[in-house]
Structures are given as C-alpha cells and as structure tokens.
Amino acid sequence: MNVVKVDGKNSKHRVLLYALSTCGWCRKTKKFLTDNSVAHGYIDVDLCTDEEYEQICRDILERGGRIAFPTLIVDDSRLITGFNVDEIREALEIGNT
C-alpha cells in the first residue's frame, strides 16, 4: 500500500490519514497537518486497488469508525472522522495560533 510520508517537526504522535485524492475536506486536512508541521503518512484510498480499499474499510470499521474520508488515526488508537479541526488539534496537542 502506498503510504505517502510527510515530514514535520511535530512528531509527538504517530499520524496516519486515510484520504480521497479528490476530496476538498481531505485536502484541507492534509494542508492543516503540513501547515502545522505534523509528521504524518497518508493514503489516497481512491487510488488504491480494490483489495487495498477493502482492507482500509475493514480497518476503519474495526476501529469503530464510519467509512467516510478523511479518517485520521492517531497513535494507532484514536480515530477521527472528518476534518474536525478542534478534535484534531486536541489529539495532536496543537494549540490555537
């Protein structure tokens, strides 16, 4: 599976983003992470193979999420659906600037 790695100064948390390459909210999420210099990896699930896509959906469901994008997984434990800035800030310990 093609995980795109993005470096950043903030590497306090392990951050994985499931996104759609065409989605405006996913783009906003990627921009937010980059702007806040959060080290993360992302997967554009619409560009994955069917098998990979199924695997990702299963992963999201097993974590109790809904199949919606963006889905952010923090430290392999916390799942955040959607570009919910406040929740993302809190999970990644990013203050309001």
């Binding site: 759609l20 405006g24 909210w25 783009r27």
Partner: protein, 160 residues
C-alpha cells in the same frame, strides 16, 4: 456554490479528476465505478438538497445555501448519512449483482377504464426531476447537466 474561492477551486478540481476516468462522482465520497452503486453520490447527489436545507451546505461543501453564502457563515464538515448498506456495498461490490440495463424503466399507470388516446415516451432526470417528452433521453439534462445515463423512462398513458 461555496463562496470560499480556494476551497471551491479545490472541490472543482476534485470533481474534474473524478469525471475523467469515471463520471462526475462526488469528490468527497469514495466511488466504486459501477454506475448503479454510485448513482446516489454522483454530483449533484441525492443528499444535497436535504443537507443544504438542514446544514446550509452539502457534504462536499460545493453547494451552499444562498443565505449561508451571502452571510459568509462558516462551512464545517457535516455528518455522513448515506445509508450504511450503500457504504458497505461500495466496498464489496463483487457481492452485488448489478443490472446491465443502463436506463431503468419505470411504468406509471394512470388507472382508468376509459380509452387511451395516446402513449408518449417520457423521460425524467433522476437527479433533478426534469421531465421531457421525446423519443430518446437528452444527452445532457438541460437543467442540472446530469448525463444521459441519469435519465429513466416513464411510460405514461394519457387518457383522452
């Protein structure tokens, strides 16, 4: 349309990228590429009007209600309420048997014992509800620009 120019451009780019290999799929939802499975999320999607009414904008954020756009009210992500069985089907499409028929036919009968004067071919756009009488459906819906595949035939018996 979303008044935030940068966001709007990003959404339109997403739609265009989706349109090239497939159809004008909604940019914020994952599509299967199987028309009948994706039909409800092809932009403008089935969820747009209820979402615009309830939240003031659609799930993608492309369509924004006039008052929200004019007042420049904040546009935040809204919950997904596409039925979960559709979401589930979307990621296990091999389990689904899909009708090969590109255009489904819906028969409407106006009940009457009186004689039928005429039988007309009538097509309606499943996206916006536009209706026309003609031999074949239009290539593009003149109202919402949906593609021909989005039209279904209605057989209506006009009672004379």
């Amino acid at each position: 349309m979303n008044p935030d120019e940068e966001f709007l451009i990003s959404l339109l780019e997403g739609l265009r990228e989706n349109e090239e290999p497939l159809m004008p799929m909604q940019a914020s939802r994952a599509a299967t590429g199987v028309f009948e499975l994706d039909r409800d999320i092809i932009c403008p999607c089935d969820y747009r009007d209820p979402d615009c009414e309830e939240y003031g904008y659609c799930y993608c954020g492309l369509y924004v209600r006039k008052d929200v756009a004019e007042k420049r009210l904040p546009i935040k992500p809204i919950p997904e309420w596409r039925p979960s069985e559709k979401l589930a089907r979307a990621y296990s499409k091999e389990d689904v048997t899909v009708s090969e028929k590109p255009v489904e036919e819906i028969k409407t009968t106006l009940v009457s014992e009186e004689h039928l004067a005429e039988v007309l071919k009538m097509w309606y756009c499943r996206q916006c509800g536009y209706v026309c009488f003609r031999e074949e459906p239009p290539y593009v819906c003149p109202i919402c620009k949906a593609k021909r595949e989005m039209f279904s035939r209605l057989t209506v018996k006009i009672i004379g």
